[in-house]
C-alpha cells in the first residue's frame, strides 16, 4: 500500500484495505488532534488551501490538521479574492500552488475540479469537495466515526435519512458502506429519493437495502442513523415543507423507539433535523463526528506527504 505522493480525489479510488489503513492512522492521530500530544512530523511542509467556494468547517479542519502536525498553510477561503475572477484557468492556479507548496487542498464549485488539479500538479492533491461531486475526506471521516463509535463498520444497519437526492455526502457514503457489505435503509420524502443509479449500484454490490418514507418506523431497526439537511428551497409549498420537516425531525421521542446503542450522525450544519434535546443523549455523535475531520485529515496529510506509511 503506497500513499506517498498520492492524490485523494474520489472514494472510488480506494480499496477497503486502503480505507481501513487510513482509519488506523487516523486513530493514532487522535491525541495530537486533541492537543494532548505533540506530533511535529510535517515541520517544514506547506499546504495550499484553495477554497474557490466557502466551506468553513472543511477548511478549518484541514488547516487545523496541518498545523497539528507542525506544518504551515497558505491559501484563500473564497474565490472572490483570487485571480480566477480575472479569468485565470484553474490549471494555472494549480501550477502556481504547486510551485509554492508541498500539497494542495482544493474545494471547487465544478465537478471534476479535484481530478483536473491532480493532472496539473506533481504534488499530491486532496479534494475537499467538487461541486455536487466527490468529497472523499467527508466519507472517510464518516466511516471513521462509525468504526470508532460502533467498533466496526460491518455488522451495522445504517439508515440514511433526509435529502438523499441532492445530499452528495450520502451518495459517496452509501457506496463506501456497500463496499464493506453494510446493510442500509434509505428513508426520504417523496421527490428526494436516492438517485436510481446509486440504488442499483448498491444492490449490485450485494447488500440488503430497504427503501421507505417513515423514519420513525425505520429507527427501530437501525444501529446508525445518518441524517442530512433538507433544504427548504426543495419544497415549493411551505406547508408541505413544514409537514415533511416535522416527520423527519429527530427528537428523543423518536429515538425512544430505537436501539439503546443507536448513534445519530449528521454532516452539519443542521437546521431543524435534530432537536437540541438530543445533544445531551448518548445517541448524539455529530459533534464528535465533526471533530473526527481533524484526525482523518491529519492521517491523509501525513500519508501523502510521506511522514507516515
Amino acid at each position: 500500500m503506497e500513499f506517498e505522493n498520492r492524490d485523494i480525489i474520489s472514494i472510488h479510488d480506494f480499496s477497503t484495505k486502503e480505507i481501513l489503513h487510513v482509519l488506523d492512522v487516523a486513530r493514532d492521530m487522535v491525541p495530537a488532534a486533541q492537543g494532548k500530544e505533540e506530533k511535529n512530523i510535517l515541520g517544514s511542509k506547506v499546504m495550499s488551501s484553495l477554497f474557490f467556494e466557502p466551506s468553513t468547517r472543511t477548511r478549518l479542519s484541514f488547516e487545523a490538521a496541518m498545523k497539528r502536525l507542525g506544518g504551515k498553510t497558505v491559501g484563500f477561503s473564497d474565490a472572490k479574492s483570487t485571480s480566477t475572477k480575472k479569468g485565470e484557468t484553474l490549471a494555472d492556479t494549480i501550477r502556481m500552488a504547486e510551485a509554492y507548496s508541498d500539497c494542495i487542498v482544493i474545494r471547487h464549485f465544478n465537478e471534476g475540479a479535484g481530478r483536473l488539479a491532480a493532472k496539473f500538479s506533481s504534488k499530491p492533491v486532496l479534494n475537499a469537495g467538487d461541486g455536487a461531486g466527490q468529497h472523499p475526506t467527508q466519507t472517510l471521516l464518516d466511516l471513521f466515526t462509525i468504526r470508532e463509535e460502533k467498533g466496526a463498520i460491518k455488522g451495522n444497519r445504517v439508515i440514511l435519512a433526509g435529502d438523499l437526492k441532492y445530499g452528495r455526502t450520502v451518495h459517496s457514503l452509501a457506496y463506501a458502506l456497500a463496499m464493506f457489505g453494510v446493510d442500509m435503509a434509505f428513508i426520504s420524502p417523496r421527490g428526494l429519493e436516492m438517485p436510481r443509479e446509486f440504488v442499483s449500484l448498491v444492490k449490485e454490490m450485494g447488500v440488503d437495502l430497504y427503501e421507505g418514507r417513515d423514519l420513525a418506523e425505520a429507527v427501530a431497526e437501525g444501529d446508525v442513523l445518518y441524517a442530512t439537511r433538507i433544504q427548504k428551497e426543495r419544497f415549493p409549498d411551505p406547508q408541505e415543507y413544514k409537514k415533511m420537516a416535522s416527520s423527519y425531525r429527530i427528537d428523543n421521542e423518536m429515538l425512544s423507539g430505537g436501539k439503546k446503542g443507536l448513534i445519530v450522525m449528521h454532516p452539519l450544519p443542521r437546521v431543524n433535523e435534530i432537536a437540541a434535546e438530543v445533544d445531551d443523549t448518548p445517541h448524539a455523535v455529530y459533534f464528535r463526528q465533526a471533530f473526527n475531520g481533524v484526525p482523518v485529515r491529519m492521517a491523509l496529510l501525513a500519508l501523502v506527504l510521506g511522514a507516515r506509511r
Partner: protein, 153 residues
C-alpha cells in the same frame, strides 16, 4: 435497372461502411462531413435487409479513407459497423470498428457543470464503463454521458 445500379455499383477505390444500424447513416455522414470537403461521389443506402441487424444502412465513399478519429466516433454511435477499405475494386482491408478503453477529445461531457466544460486546457476524457449498451464515464466528474450522439465534438 437504375435501382440495381444504385444499389450495387462497386467503387474502385474508397471506403464502404456496412452494418450501420438502420437510421444512423446520416449521423455517420455528419461525422465524416464535418471538418472536410466531400467532393467525390458518396452514396447512402438505407433500410437494407440484414441478417445480423434486421435492417441496416450502408455508406459508400469514393476516394476517401477515414481518419482514426472518425473511426473512433463511428464506433461510439454504431459499434456494429464494419469498415471496408476498397482498393482496385476489391476489399483490401476489412475491420470492425473497435471501442477504445479511453475516449479522449471526441465526446463532450453532458454535465454542464463539469470542469472539462469550463475552458480549462484539457481534452474531455472518458473510460468505457460498459460496452453494451455503450456507457462512457467522465474521468473528471465521474458521470456517464447521457447521449453520446448529441455530444460528439
Amino acid at each position: 435497372m437504375l435501382t440495381k445500379e444504385l444499389k450495387v455499383k462497386p467503387i474502385e477505390n474508397g471506403t464502404v461502411i456496412d452494418h450501420i444500424p438502420a437510421g444512423m447513416a446520416f449521423k455517420v455522414i455528419s461525422i465524416i462531413a464535418s471538418g472536410r470537403d466531400i467532393d467525390r461521389p458518396m452514396s447512402i443506402v438505407m433500410n437494407v435487409e440484414s441478417k445480423r441487424l434486421g435492417k441496416k444502412d450502408i455508406v459508400k465513399m469514393e476516394d476517401l479513407v477515414l481518419k482514426k478519429r472518425e473511426v473512433d466516433k463511428i464506433g461510439l454511435i454504431a459499434p456494429e459497423a464494419c469498415i471496408n477499405i476498397i482498393e482496385n475494386a476489391s476489399v483490401a482491408k476489412k475491420r470492425e470498428v473497435d471501442l477504445p478503453k479511453r475516449v479522449v477529445g471526441i465526446v463532450k461531457c453532458s454535465n454542464p457543470n463539469c470542469v472539462s466544460n469550463q475552458n480549462e486546457p484539457v481534452d474531455s476524457e472518458f473510460v468505457l464503463a460498459s460496452k453494451t449498451p455503450i456507457r462512457l464515464r467522465c474521468i473528471y466528474c465521474e458521470r456517464d454521458v447521457t447521449n453520446i450522439t448529441e455530444n460528439l465534438i
